[in-house]
Subunit: 482 residues, 2 copies
Amino acid sequence: MQRARRGIDVQDHEFDEIDAIINAGSMAIVGASGVPMKFGTYFTGVQLSFGFKGPVYLVNPGEKEIMGRQAYPDLRSLPEAPDIVYITIPAHRSMEVLRDCAAVGVKGVIILAAGFREAGEEGKALEEEALRLAREGGFHIIGPNCFGIYNPRNRLTLLPGYDFSTTPGDTAFISQSGGFAAHVARLGKSLGIDFSAVVSYGNAADLNETDLLRYFTRDPHTAVISGYLEGARGGHDFVEALREATAVKPVVIWKVGKGEASRRAVITHTGSLSGSAEIWEALMRQCGVIIASGVEELCDVLLALKHIGRDPGRRLLISGGGGGLGTYAGDLAEDEGLDVPPLDGGTLDNLKKILARPGAVAGNPLDIGAPLIPLQQFEPAIWEAARNASTDILIFDMAVNFAYDLAGEAGLDLATDILIRAGRESKKAMVVVLYTRSCDPDNLTAEENLRRVRWKLLDAEIPVYPSMPRALRAIARVNSGA
Amino acid sequence: MQRARRGIDVQDHEFDEIDAIINAGSMAIVGASGVPMKFGTYFTGVQLSFGFKGPVYLVNPGEKEIMGRQAYPDLRSLPEAPDIVYITIPAHRSMEVLRDCAAVGVKGVIILAAGFREAGEEGKALEEEALRLAREGGFHIIGPNCFGIYNPRNRLTLLPGYDFSTTPGDTAFISQSGGFAAHVARLGKSLGIDFSAVVSYGNAADLNETDLLRYFTRDPHTAVISGYLEGARGGHDFVEALREATAVKPVVIWKVGKGEASRRAVITHTGSLSGSAEIWEALMRQCGVIIASGVEELCDVLLALKHIGRDPGRRLLISGGGGGLGTYAGDLAEDEGLDVPPLDGGTLDNLKKILARPGAVAGNPLDIGAPLIPLQQFEPAIWEAARNASTDILIFDMAVNFAYDLAGEAGLDLATDILIRAGRESKKAMVVVLYTRSCDPDNLTAEENLRRVRWKLLDAEIPVYPSMPRALRAIARVNSGA
């Protein structure tokens, strides 16, 4: 039924319709409340504290005032028709609200409640009724069974998004799972990945992965599209949308539902049919999609795309203090289809001179020696390594509380500055593996140091990973044909 | 040459010889110094601050006093023959010290310096000479090119081990790499894994993996043996030692050297020949070794062994707040050869009653609903899940700053206490995946909460992992035949 609406000329029309929802200028929250432990209370508080840029109308027939603001008994009583309506009340009571939405003329409705198609026959009938009301009323639905929209430009946020970043970015994330939508937004914040928008679309009764993919393909704010998918409806349309998207922007997809238990969970979660894992994988590869598995891996890939881009090359120079590291990283590179080629002759000769000391090994992997390397040797060694012609990416393994003690308190920051300068002036890609080997529960100094250095590196456009396996996996993923 | 020494009756003799080194009661540090940026200074400071239980003699012909202690010109001037001698001076100057060791009659010598076999022909000759001197002098060598011994009972520690745990435990770790020896010791500390000993043995000129494996197989302090290996000498003896070990204790091995780059690194690192990855893997499987890849995975396995033991079962009940989680974990379980079977009928009926609310799904995976579940529902749901008869292990996914807000500040700790009680009284294995979704660089509250809750769970003998992939991998590994 939905597909029937769509013809060639409907495309841009649909872009505008979705755009009006994601970039809404006014909203109403139906079920807004100030009573503790209620869904509507939590959601109202989150949206108000996130600072939505436009009027927020709170609707609850049982209240006169909520959180110091006027409350309205229903949508018909509002001074204007809001662009979007968030419905936070239970499923069976939502139909009446949808009729009001049609009556006042809104652009979009986000239904947070579960209890629709994923819950069985009764819920399925409710969901069909909701879709019918939306069609009649000329508006779109996001959800039900979702956390909504996060858009830092107009300051919309997800149900649990009170602490999301307010900095607009160029990465879009679409997700059937609300939990993972929130998780990716938070992880992104911690890594300096900013979003054009995150859409948790749950059961996809109306707007689904295909619609959102098309929207973000055209969205000028979005440079990278990412998604968590449990399945997809409208097979052919979806594949076409995927191809369209990958032709103009990198697309990163985490698709779940491989095994029997996982598929069982998909059905009870958002009611999707997930399809065979093999078919999905082949399809995504054909379309040039970057495949990610898991929330960490997805964010790791987004971070690599942000700083070293698509196809940065597979030839790694692996460096750090300690020889075990090189053997380990060499194994991992092999597993990921990456190369650790011998050093360029000139680089090798120069490194041999700089690192003429026991415990250091000039080569690839490059062991600069640990834990006692003086910065006077570290600096030229890193400069040589950064410029090596036979490799594309310099990887530096950096333990915050281990290798730099000897330069005193400031050693860690001095080493960081050296890395940043070498990366900038060599104009070659650099990736840092940064971690603390100290996890003392009563002493957070190492953790503080780690966070400070991580931000310094991220600000200098050097992607930072907590472990070598994660760094190498991300590099492998952003290279085509991985 | 070494193997020729060994007959049936030599076995216990060799145990005593190694035991006298690891449990040494006195030591000398040759090359001890107080001059900043020197190897010997760092090492002296580390040993003194770690509090070795016995006399520490500092030897340096150029000093009268080091760090407020008397300095001796050479080993012959000491008031007694120390059990062990740490040599911290460069390779070429060590031979004279070894002659002194023979003259005064020590039990063991640990040579920290690199520049031996791994460095080429000249170094190889030095290493052979060192071994000859040890044989003649009747003592053993650990190293060269190593970080030494960590033993919390007599307070020996590794070169970078100033902050290691002082609590004795029952896990042994042997490692060709000094860096990974230190890394595992520190990670272990952060996870409550305590060690009987860690031995960084570097080039293994004398005592090697086979000797150490045999020693820890017999060592009454050691219940679990783990190791990082780049290779092994004496093929048949090593395999025999592996079989002997796995017959009485779990043995966890991380073997590197799969690819070409990695093998190149092995040779320059400790001069080992690593052998084919396939042969190693087949051999380790035949011997019943638990195979781990990487430093995190090794520690994850040690943590699982400590709390849920060998062969805890493959049938998982995966629970947490959110439906996406279940689909994700279901996929991972499939990849790891673990089962997520349907719930026992009685458990399912009870959970349906307890969780009769939209957003929660009684089943396996079990979605207890998020982010708003009241603890009054959480508690009976977890109790039911912990007792479910059709599964062996309850996995709970816990975001420290997400799901428990509604119970106020104390919600997280209350939820933790509920998990601990349910685990204890059900007497079934429980595993918690614990993480923070907030990484604000200016706010470490979530990190503090995470560390507090992690220790609470670890103290209650519940293993804690930072991500679902790592938890499931560890569970898969400790089950036989993985």
